[in-house]
């Protein structure tokens, strides 16, 4: 049987990969993808802990909820990235360091 620990390890690995990618990638779209990856690591945790609430299935419920929210945020983020690209002609977050004008 797959233990809770295995889920946690997978989740932690996913999260760490996400962290690494988020600081090292030069493409905002990729960063957005990696954020999704980290969200999914958190959702995986929610689902894994859901075994302790078989009555209300609140873990799964939170997971669904989070997925919906993630979809919404992704949509917003994509819009922002599009606007950023329009203005700076790049989507490398390392090169976008101006707050002014």
């Amino acid at each position: 049987m797959i233990s809770l620990t295995d889920f946690m390890v997978v989740s932690a690995v996913l999260f760490c990969i996400g962290l690494y990618m988020i600081v090292s990638k030069h493409n905002a779209i990729q960063i957005l993808i990696v954020i999704e990856l980290m969200l999914n690591a958190a959702i995986l945790n929610l689902v894994a802990f859901g075994r302790y609430d078989r009555v209300a299935n609140s873990g799964q419920m939170f997971a669904l909820f989070a997925i919906v929210l993630a979809a919404a945020t992704t949509a917003v983020a994509l819009a922002i990235i599009l606007n950023v690209y329009k203005r700076y002609k790049t989507i490398d977050p390392g090169k976008i360091d101006n707050l002014k004008d």
Binding site: L19, I22, V23, S24, P93, G94, I96, D97, N98, L99
Partner: protein, 700 residues
Amino acid sequence: MEHFLQSIDALTIKFTLIAVLLPLLAFVINTALPAKWSKVAGWVSTVFILISCVLAAFIFSKVWNGHQVHQQMLWFTIGDTPVYAGILLNNLSVLLLLLVNLIALPVHLYSTAYMRHDEKYSRYFAYLSFFCFSMLALAVSDNLVLFYIFWELVGFSSYLLIGFWFTRDKAVFANKKAFIMNRIGDIGLLSAILVLFSMYHTFDLDTLFGQINLVGHSNIQNGLWHLSSNSVPNDSGAIVITGGSIQIPAIWQYIAFAGIFLAVAAKSAQFPLHTWLPDAMEGPTSVSALIHAATMVAAGVLLLGRVYPLFNDAELTFLAIIGCFTAFMAATIALTQNDLKRLLAYSTISQLGYMVMAMGIGAYASSLFHLVTHAFFKCLLFLVAGIVIHQMGHIRDDNNLEIDPQNIQNMGGLRKKLPLTFIAALIGGVALVGLPFTSGFLSKDGILVQAFEWSAGKNVFFKIIPILALLTTWLTAFYVARLIVKVFFGELRVLQFKPDLKLHMSDGTWQYKLPLVLLSVCCFFPFFSTNPFSQDASWVYNGLLGILNETGFAMVLPVVINIGSLLIIYFAYTIYTGKRTNPFAQTGVIFNLSFNQWYFDSIYQNAIVKPILNTSLVTFWFDRRVIDGFILLFAKMSVALSKLAAWMDRNIVDGFLNLLVKAVRIIGNFARRFQGGKVQYYLFSMLAVILAIFILKTFF
């Protein structure tokens, strides 16, 4: 009547002041004169001295053989002692006043021509006027402090005039020498004045030596110099001594005498301080005529005349010995000198020696009489020398010769070229020798007669003095004859080795001729006495209260002297008109002694000047090495300390600040990196911090 006399006296005093101050005014005007008007300077000085001369003649006529005029005012007060300054006119003062003016007038006139081409013409007359002022003031000043001031000023103006051509090294050395020697005398005079003041508590000449005659009333007893108040006649109303008697150790009297002797020796060029006078001939000849023959050098004899009552018998004998020795020594030196002016300078020293000797043997009046007559004929001889040197200088310049215009070996035969000068020289020379019908006869033979009388009742050693004086007279006859024959007789010796010279010589303009004529007239007896053979008939002599005992000497001696002189002059004439330039061998101990001026200069050079210079070098070295060295060491230490401080400042104080700045910059740069505007970097830093916190929390 009384009132009338007083107003006449006041007028006399006023005239004296004007006569004395006019040359000072001339000095001021000539100093302030702009350069383009410098030709006026000579006439300013001459006219002023002429006015002064007329005034002096008036004053002389009022005071001579009349009553003494003395006026003074409070000058300053030291403690309780008031010091008065004023004018004292007695026979001696007015005689000097008139004499100086009478000599200065022809010399001024002569100088207007003689110095005509000199570029410092106005300065020359300024100095000359300044000298006349000092000398006239010296003659009439009534107290020792004023006397000392003008004594110094006379020496100072003489210094200026000796070094008038200061671009010549020799002139500068000569005036330095004259100044230093005169300073020695000045110190003597000053100390004598201080001794007299501490004894008598007054500087006033009249109180000291005149009517009240404090000096005459003091005496030396049991090793004490003593003045008691009851021995002083107090009827003149002057309160002289306050309380009791004054006595100080007798040594002070001798110190005062020594001081006065030094002063006289320096000013009147007596042994041992005589060596400056021959060197002083580096000045213009007209200056030599006025200052170094007639007036300034007479100041020493004037001083002797002023303080005469101070001396006791031993001191007078000392003066006689020194004067006699000086006269003899200078006469022997004059025998072999070839420089015209040096020869005359030694002759002056010799005649001054006569005067000092005359003072020493008690021939007070004869001494001053000789001073007066000597002033005229010696001034005349110097003016003649000036013309001769001037003409020789012309020959040298016209023909580009390498000759010394003052050397009498180059001269000769000038009597045809310069007839008036020749006659003047002859008159001056005859007066100097003291032949009958001249003024020199009256004064000089008077001194000799009195010298023999003085020694008559004394030890045999005292006989040496009159005999030396007699010898000196004959030596004088010889060197005067040699001088005149070499200069004026025979043929011009320059022609012997350069026969094709262009010669155009003349006596010069009236400014040269008139002074010669004036002074020549004053060299004859009628100017001084009605009887050409007796000093007794001379007004100067009688005015100075001379008393001549009629003894056998007075009858026989002048005859002997003059026959001797005439023989010597004839002898000199015959040998020097001969073909040879030097009839005598120029070798031998005696010749060298005379030619080298008795080696006084080299003795002084080796015994005094060199040790002093060496001491100066040592002190200079000490100053340079030790004192300066100490200061330099101090300076170096300061520099080193400063350098250390600067290093500390730069490296430690500044270094600390720089370190701070560097640290701030490093920290700032480090902190800046987190604020670069890069989103991912922010995130990374955040992660790192959180990780660090977690690690810390976990392990500690």
